[in-house]
Symmetry: C2
Subunit: 197 residues, 2 copies
């Protein structure tokens, strides 16, 4: 009865992906031990973030303004769009610190099994951007699995009447990867895309 | 600049044990996706818990009242104290649903390396309870490592003038454990404590 709040907190934490019942208990105990430094600021920050966060109306990135910091950055090449499945993928590419164009977050991939159709994704909005924003290149960075590739192919078909270059991230051996541990699909892709020294 | 809150949130999450930078990003993205159902209630719950939580003045368990629900439960045997290192250990024993006595949370173990001396733990308070509360049995449930055993031994010495039974959790083969995977220490302890069928 009186442990109620703590139990509810453990339950809420355990719904976060990557946290099971055991790690939620550990997380909550850590918070309780660091009540002053962690709990109040965490509560405040979660509330503020929830209140301020929105989707960019141009690229569907998550941000605190309705045009995200990437879309509104004058130093980025607004004529190039990198198409990603999720905000997590956008963050991953941003961590590389090399890409200077903009993004378009699809919000998922086409999937017959999960019943996700083109209208469930931000595909029409991407076509609109190509139509209206002088886009010169679309780079597909969807995942290298069947759904990701199908989605890229579907959008490519839809874009065939527009004068836009369409590319895709290279497939090959990850940096630091050992051949012996790689699947044949990756090895074959790396072999096909081999380039001269 | 505008991604500030989200980045701060990921940083705070990554300080929770068990969550690294990658799993914090995943956790925060999950929260952002489930803003309505998760973020507001989580923020509220963390704040409420932080405001209401306190340590039991008798056994040092964490609870929302200054005498915890276990110490104030008339159906529990208040003459038996199970001595644990942390609240996590108390919760672990409670999950077993078999123990009906009370607890005493030491708040750690004696450790020369970590510079933890008797006065840093709730040891004197335990002695006081034995002195004043008609305690008949102390069960040590400190961890089965050197620090846990040293701490139990130290407290046992302090209690030798009191008329109280002192016991310790049995060491042996975990239920479901396979002999081949167990260390010799456990096997030897199990052999020494063997009992007749």
């Amino acid at each position: 009865m009186s442990k109620n709040n703590i139990e509810k907190l453990i339950y809420l934490f355990s719904k976060i992906p990557g946290l099971g019942p055991r790690s939620s208990r550990r997380a909550v105990l850590y918070l309780l031990k660091n009540k002053e430094t962690m709990m109040f600021s965490l509560a405040e920050l979660i509330k503020n973030t929830a209140e301020s966060v929105k989707n960019c109306i141009n690229c569907y990135n998550i941000d605190s303004s309705s045009i995200c910091s990437i879309c509104s950055d004058k130093n980025r090449e607004s004529n190039i769009i990198c198409v990603v499945e999720s905000v997590a993928d956008l963050w991953a590419i941003e961590r590389g610190k090399i890409y200077k164009g903009t993004y378009h977050v699809l919000g998922g991939v086409l999937s017959a099994i999960d019943n996700i159709a083109p209208q469930d994704l931000n595909i029409d909005q991407l076509i609109e951007r190509v139509k209206n924003q002088k886009i010169t290149e679309i780079i597909f960075a969807t995942n290298a699995n069947i759904e990701g590739q199908t989605t890229a192919f579907y959008i490519t078909e839809k874009l065939k009447d527009y004068d836009v270059k369409i590319s895709q991230l290279a497939h090959g051996i990850p940096i630091g990867g050992e051949l012996d541990y790689l699947d044949e699909g990756t090895l074959n892709a790396a072999l096909k895309s081999r380039h001269l020294f």
